[in-house]
Symmetry: C2
Subunit: 367 residues, 2 copies
Amino acid sequence: MRVTLRDIAAEAGVSLQTVSNVVRGRTSRVSEATTERVLRLVSERGYVPNASARTLAASTSRTIGLFVPAREQTEQLLSPYDVAVLGGLERELRMRGYDLLLRGVGGLGEVTGLVQTWSLAGAVLLEFPEALLEKVEPIGDAVIVSLDAYIRNPAVLSVRSDDRAGGRLAAARLLAAGHRTVAFLGDVGADRDDAAAAGTMAVDSFSVLAERLSGFRTEALAGLATVEYVPARLSHGDGYALARWWLDHPGVPGVPGVPGASGLSGSSDRSHSGRPTAVFAAADILAIGFIQGLADAGVRVPADVSVIGYDDLAAGQYITPRLTTIAQDFTAKSAAVSALLFGETDAASPVITPVTLVERASVVALG
Amino acid sequence: MRVTLRDIAAEAGVSLQTVSNVVRGRTSRVSEATTERVLRLVSERGYVPNASARTLAASTSRTIGLFVPAREQTEQLLSPYDVAVLGGLERELRMRGYDLLLRGVGGLGEVTGLVQTWSLAGAVLLEFPEALLEKVEPIGDAVIVSLDAYIRNPAVLSVRSDDRAGGRLAAARLLAAGHRTVAFLGDVGADRDDAAAAGTMAVDSFSVLAERLSGFRTEALAGLATVEYVPARLSHGDGYALARWWLDHPGVPGVPGVPGASGLSGSSDRSHSGRPTAVFAAADILAIGFIQGLADAGVRVPADVSVIGYDDLAAGQYITPRLTTIAQDFTAKSAAVSALLFGETDAASPVITPVTLVERASVVALG
DNA sequence: CTGAAAGCGCTTACAG
DNA sequence: CTGAAAGCGCTTACAG
């Protein structure tokens, strides 16, 4: 039989309520002597609180839901990016005595249901489309936090990296290496206002990418470079397929088909649009796929094209050449999510986490 | 205010118990008419069951705990292998109406506590050392399932791949390619009986790897090959570092320092122990690290050395050359865990899942 | 096939 | 600083 609060109370000769107070650390209301006695009993008898009873009585649990869109059977529930976020978050919650419920969901209704069923204290929404996030309505007192979304919905707090700065950093790095014909890989999606105007939410926008592109373009243009925008989903497969785009690209005039043609070097001709000598892939997974696609086609990175990624996933260090990338601060991101979840006053939504350039081997000076 | 069973009962004009029966699908005890009426009300009023009340009353929850050893702050909670297992498991549980609690733990005491606190129906233990698993004691009626462990403890069920067959498959593949000097990369750990004799459990054994080695060695020896055993932790870093081992290896007599020396071709001299021409890394992550380490040292895979892995993680397709490997059936593994968890009669512990050779590009015929 | 009672183990006010 | 009561929303026997 499991030992309950009542058992401890009986043995200690105090009321049930006193034991409850001690167990929850409200020792200011209890004399030192009884606190000590109760604590000893708790440890001796191996008392563990019953979370269900606690939740039922308090109508809130020390549990946070982590929700991810449910995938096809063959796909993984969690992307490497999700895993990076999850690691820090689980740790953060554990330190605070909270537990984590992990679920793939098919829609907003499910998250509402789950939050209610479990009396969750909060929910974090990973990889939810912005259009969906805009529709979220408050669910009791649960705090709802999204990652990497640019939304107006006050019911959903958010944490994201400084995407625009990241884009700028990437452009600056390529500019510094002498590149003047560059490309952005990533799908910015439908324009938010277009979608709204069309009266539909079916068309989603990916503002995170739009921001990265915006920062990248601004900086690149200021450096007198030509920027090409190439839509692509953030997947290894899309990156891989993009090798074709690069190969089929009209070459530099006068130097057709020759990658990294020296004729481009130092060029500041903005109207000129030859094959990019450097590429900014808006996510590492995309960059990795792209590099592999090129490798399979016999194109060398960075000798023929420089590539810079975004995220700084571990996988970026496992490829050849090691990926130069814009690193996210995953620890800061987890901490921010948790600060928002627990209503810490120093965190105001949206929380924007810093971004840094990680120099490795996939970007090289032109010429 | 949340709508409860009692609200529905009042509106429907039936007892609370009847509503409970309908909601739980025990419709055999309820007339069709009232079932229908109750169901309509449930959906109209948006009733969702309260998991805490349910768990408290039934003293068991529809929740499974997934426990992983807690890591250092900098490490990720979940390895790519864990992610592969988790994906299928979460889906399996979701289909059955179960939820998943994910936790990093510091010891067995924590899992016991968590199982009790949440009245978990079951727990799955990922990456737990076998020595620890042997010490697990029954926790109420909770089903405890481990992955990839060879244990005698009847309190812990287990699911693993056919490690020995996997080892044999790897050896057979290398043999078929003409390799006769091969190596096994992976840490078999302390011998189980040695550890027991020493009266300590601090020294752990890794039977999964011992089995893979055993299968590999048996098959390789039967093919008259020389097998070298090289201890290494299953990490990218250890694999990377192992490039040194290969480079510093005494070369083939008469052909010092020349990798893949043709003098070796077709050799069946078992006493001869030159530099391995092929390597079986007991986990993909190790194989990937090794390949990169070699690449950085200017050694080409598979031209200079062939490499075969184990697991078939997605990452194996993201490197150059694509990794030839022994694939685990993660879907089968998830299904088996779930079958064990829910006491399906067709599943007897240990469940051994099949393994297959996935041919890609990192193994090539010698010479 | 349906109903009234007891109880799961806590917390939340409210008294002393 | 400590205690007795009520109640959270269900499920589990047990009656009819």
